[in-house]
Symmetry: C2
């Protein structure tokens, strides 16, 4: 919050392990690896041009992040998706995010308000991807969307709550991006989402906690429904296409 320290941080206190962790994490959330897929070292080593040691480090952390699974002597696999996990995820995210929003509204200062407006502006200005193939545009939109939702709850004053909200948000994004294979968003849906974003922001800044949390919850419910609808469609087409259930 407030101003960033001006240090451009050109000194890289970074290591290969850190870098590959960030890259893998992004790619996992973006869905560039299929759920359940084995993450072989040689394969990853070639794809990301890093040795095995940094890879193990990154994958270990991703296990604790619940993005990959690990079984001794049998290697790492991409964490699977499931409808029950999706439902659990979303219910808790709504709960925690609304909680955090309420606290933010109670405690947020002017910088918090300003950041919301800035993030909202950047989100509204983000170009919409024409297809899911257009990775760069999708990535950019997702980042701005994330940042907007983060800005809403940033002033809640609880690092732990922010951390959990972040984790849930990341996992939800994984479902969203894994499942929405067509830009199935009708013009009406897009408009409603945009309005919800704007309304939440306005209500938050107006310190109307009731309205803000209500609309935010609605917004989540709407997103989840779309994702679930797509999820069912995708898994139906999968089980129809071949007997492979992703194992």
């Amino acid at each position: 919050m407030s101003l960033q320290p001006v240090a451009t941080n050109d000194d890289d206190a970074t290591t290969l392990g850190i870098e590959i962790y960030a890259r893998l994490r992004r790619d996992l959330i973006a869905g560039h690896h299929k759920p359940g897929e084995r993450l072989r070292f040689r394969q990853l080593s070639a794809a990301y041009s890093v040795g095995i040691a940094p890879l193990r480090e990154a994958l270990s952390r991703l296990v604790s992040d619940q993005l990959v699974r690990f079984e001794g002597h049998r290697g790492y696999t991409v964490a699977p998706l499931s409808l029950s996990d999706l439902n659990d995820l979303c219910a808790l995210r709504t709960d925690l995010s609304c909680n955090a929003l309420r606290r933010s509204i109670a405690q947020g200062d002017e910088d918090w308000e300003a950041e919301i407006l800035a993030a909202l502006h950047r989100l509204e200005r983000a170009p919409l991807p024409h297809s899911v193939e257009d990775r760069k545009t999708v990535d950019e939109w997702e980042q701005r969307h994330d940042r907007f939702h983060y800005s809403l709850i940033a002033a809640c004053g609880s690092p732990w709550l922010l951390h959990f909200c972040g984790a849930l948000s990341d996992h939800f994004q994984r479902y969203r991006r894994a499942v929405i294979v067509v830009t199935s968003s009708s013009e009406a849906l897009l408009k409603r989402v945009r309005e919800q974003h704007r309304t939440v922001a306005e209500a938050a800044i107006a310190r109307d906690a009731e309205r803000a949390t209500t609309v935010l919850a609605e917004h989540f419910r709407g997103s989840v429904e779309v994702v679930i609808r797509n999820y069912e469609e995708v898994s139906r087409s999968l089980s129809a296409g071949n007997g492979d259930d992703g194992r």
Copy 2:
């Protein structure tokens, strides 16, 4: 929940990395490493008799668990303790645990009830340590205490919520054990805690969500207060004894 799969799992699908992760985690929570202390590889390697590779793996996971911190090229350190973190931790834990308890009460079956009673019994039968030096007894008591609290919320039906409650519980235990250097527990306090445990269990099984969550919240508030009182005492004596603030 229900019955464990009978497989004794004598086949060790375990690796050195997994083992050392579990051991380090336990020791970190038990406070065998001082907050802020550097975790040097050679040192750990000697102490735990493992190579550096498994160590890096374990430490990486512990970073995502927030139990250790990492700075590139400067190594790993034990995550620091702070009053603000403690307060944050506890507030959220109360919130989430009560939430989970409410859901458990709404959904729990007879196995859930039975498990609570079993865990309560084991907790009440656990011998109290005469001093904090008596590690084995402390460990045993903490484990049973953990298990009791887990049993209360086990039927909430949300793996994510359970996961978060577990993380917060582990971190709180770290504070508790780091800070309570004397068995300062008066007989009255002990009795009250025992009664709270019993009351929560009874109310939960009687499906009295209001009463159960109220008492659970009280129980947490009480524990936190004791820990905070001890924390302030410990940090005061530290800053009085020498200028070292743990850095």
